[in-house]
Symmetry: C2
Subunit: 443 residues, 2 copies
């Protein structure tokens, strides 16, 4: 096969055969096809797209570049959850222990923060001692023994994706639906799962600002996931404002611990977590009945089994769990400053992008790959969209190791908020659900 | 400036500023911008194109990557001619000495054969001793002294183009009008010319099979050339069949010598050469009158001054000119085989692509960059499109060093010819002329 002719085939808008896709992906993974040819192919794919069948083959070729978990000896339907990324999105830390506590095995491989969006691995690593690295054998063993493992990608899981993603990042080809689908689904299939709940976000803080882009991605992910033999359900959810009240790694873990202990103080986060947990339980075969699944998930919180499962997972992965039982003993950010409402009114916007970017500046995320994260840095929201505020009332508490970092983000944070005089219609947190049967509005 | 953001700007269909284009081109030429980012930019340009102004800036940035000739001390309007490439297209070897003999300085930097199309440099180098390499100073001196130099690109002339072309070749991005314009015109401006006659070819043997693509390229070349301060005239000419009767390097030089000595046996080649020469003389300020320019060019042949000029150029560039005066002393191909008409009739097709590819197989061109050319190899046409042939009559004489090479191309060469029973309408050799005032059909 000839790489240039395959680039030209895609450039002309034609579909590659499974052999051709495999040739490109495996050749690139083995460094036989140079970066510049893959870059040209990725850009041609950006413009011409890929058929569903072709994207399935792309994903298969990516999976074949590395190792896959074999969880066939574990009883039950293995279910994972994946979010396309947002600000304050700590749902994975809540739903994984809930589902596992209810008997659904959750083999979860997560990523790190990217740009203004947080990453599950960074959040977990804010718990002292928590290790997100283990071998495939250890991963399989932990899922078998305690029903859940929360790890990061290893060198051997879909190495083609790491290489392709790094190239897409520097060639302006991240935003391509078949490439996004291949990247997400290759890692999910390699985990050894049977079913997947996807949280596809739209809005200021999401990869797709507009619903239409997110919707197209969700439909593609469902169809391609199904093409790969998974059962997939996707939710289209709002990421115009941060999810929950905390942004920043340890601050978010603390919020999750509160939820798992039964707190009602982050209603949007609690609701989305229960909905996703219930979907995981349904896919996991706990019940065909939505209500029963929801109640089962709620019970895992009220009876403490989800919290206990989270502690067990953390303990298994080397964490000092004393902080989970008594978060107050965790060191606090040395500098904490309240951010006051500039005027009275109702908040018509609490911009997730602005707040997420500020959190990165404070040290909660990385500006370069080499940056170290300050786990205590971040932002606590006291008001959300639609909330009534009085001028001077604290909207945020901003946390960092240095006051100067906080001072630097204050001007930009003013742009996160918009005020109106009259009360607002609430916006739906979940717009619709998409599965193999199509899209249905969420009631 | 940030390379990824510039890639994304082009990807979104926006025009880059002159500073942005210069940043990309100079950064790439200096190897500060890696191949893979330039590959992504080139592919984005393939899909989104460039504005005229942007293409002018691209070309300027390419020129700025190296040295330019300074011919300002040479009196007169310096004129060059460029063809987009074809089979049997040896017009440069005829028009350069004609124009120089008539007093128009011709600083000509040419290229090598590419694919099935021949290259002026390879043809010149078939003359023993002919050197196509000289320094910029020697180039300027020769144009000043004898009115013409015929050289190849040096390392210092538009190095960005060499690097970009090599990358385009392996990333499927050769066929992009702004990139083609930048590549052609950067080298022409760097020669130090004031005016340019372009021969833009369409048909089986051309880069553009269809007239429309060639026409679009011609209009772009004229407008961008004018934007760069050149006076540009382009002809749209037929390359469905080879030009003239000879294909292969020394065979083509011999045909040129015949033309320069007054032979009428290649009427299409003679006509196109006279038309292009006349345009060069007109641009070169010899006369505003087309007829006078044509007659002046014809006279340079009949009075022997063009032939003498060619000999002078060859002598100056180190060639053994004895072969020019007596071509019969040049070694012949050891194997020569006639190819006979398969049937009687009128030739409705003499396919330039098929014949050009066969010539490469015979040794007249390179299949890989490292291949050595056999200067005696090639094909002589005895009949052209529209010609009446009888079955068994020789259509071609095929020349190579080994009979096996000839045998190998015979089956494919059968596909070069199509026969019809009735005489054909002649196809125009020249379709139209394009200059700053637009396009006019050629009468």
């Amino acid at each position: 096969m000839n790489t240039v002719s395959l680039i030209k085939k895609k450039q002309a808008g034609n579909s590659l055969t499974s052999e051709e896709v495999a040739y490109l992906v495996s050749g690139f993974a083995r460094a036989e096809i140079p970066d510049y040819q893959m870059a040209a192919f990725l850009m041609a794919t950006y413009f011409q797209g890929m058929s569903r069948a072709e994207t399935v083959e792309l994903t298969r070729a990516m999976i074949a570049s590395g190792d896959s978990a074999d969880l066939s000896s574990i009883a039950g339907i293995k279910v994972d959850k994946h979010s396309t990324g947002g600000v304050g999105d700590k749902v994975s830390l809540i739903v994984a222990p809930i589902a596992a506590a209810c008997g659904v095995p959750v083999p979860m491989i997560s990523g790190r923060g990217l740009g203004h969006t947080g990453g599950t691995l960074d959040k977990l690593e804010s718990i002292p001692g928590f290790s997100t690295q283990m071998s495939m054998q250890e991963f399989e063993k932990q899922v078998a023994e305690i029903g859940c493992a929360l790890i990061g990608q290893t060198d051997r899981i879909v190495p083609a994706d790491r290489k392709m993603y790094a190239l897409r990042d520097v060639t302006g080809t991240v935003q391509s639906i078949p490439l996004i689908c291949g990247s997400i689904l290759s890692k999910k299939v390699a985990e050894g799962i049977d079913a997947l709940v996807l949280d596809v976000k739209y809005g200021h803080g999401a990869v797709y600002q507009e619903v239409d882009g997110a919707r197209e991605l969700a439909h593609n992910l469902v169809e391609i996931g199904e093409g790969l033999g998974l059962q997939v359900v996707a939710l289209l959810t709002d990421m115009n404002q941060p999810l929950g009240n905390a942004i920043g790694n340890w601050l978010e873990v603390k919020e999750c611990l509160d939820i798992l202990k039964g707190s009602q103080s982050s209603p949007d986060l609690l609701e989305l977590s229960l909905i996703i947990s219930a979907l995981m339980l349904k896919l996991g075969g706990i019940s065909e009945d939505d209500q029963i699944c929801r109640q089962t998930a709620e019970k895992a919180i009220t009876d403490g089994s989800a919290f206990d499962k989270f502690v067990q997972i953390c303990q298994q992965q080397g964490a000092d769990v004393s902080f989970l039982n008594d978060p107050a003993t965790y060191p606090s950010a040395t500098a904490q400053v309240d951010f006051a409402a500039q005027q009275s009114g109702y908040l018509s916007e609490v911009n997730a992008l602005v707040i997420g970017q500020a959190a990165v500046e404070l040290g909660a995320g990385r500006k370069t790959k080499e940056d170290e994260i300050d786990y205590t840095a971040g932002i606590i929201l006291h008001k959300k969209r639609g909330g009534r505020v009085e001028k001077g009332e604290p909207l945020l508490t901003i946390c960092a190791q240095q006051k100067s970092l906080i001072d630097a983000v204050l001007p930009e944070l003013k742009n996160a908020f918009q005020y109106v005089d009259a009360p607002l219609q609430p916006k739906p947190l979940i717009l619709s659900m998409i599965d193999r049967n199509g899209e249905n509005p969420w009631i």
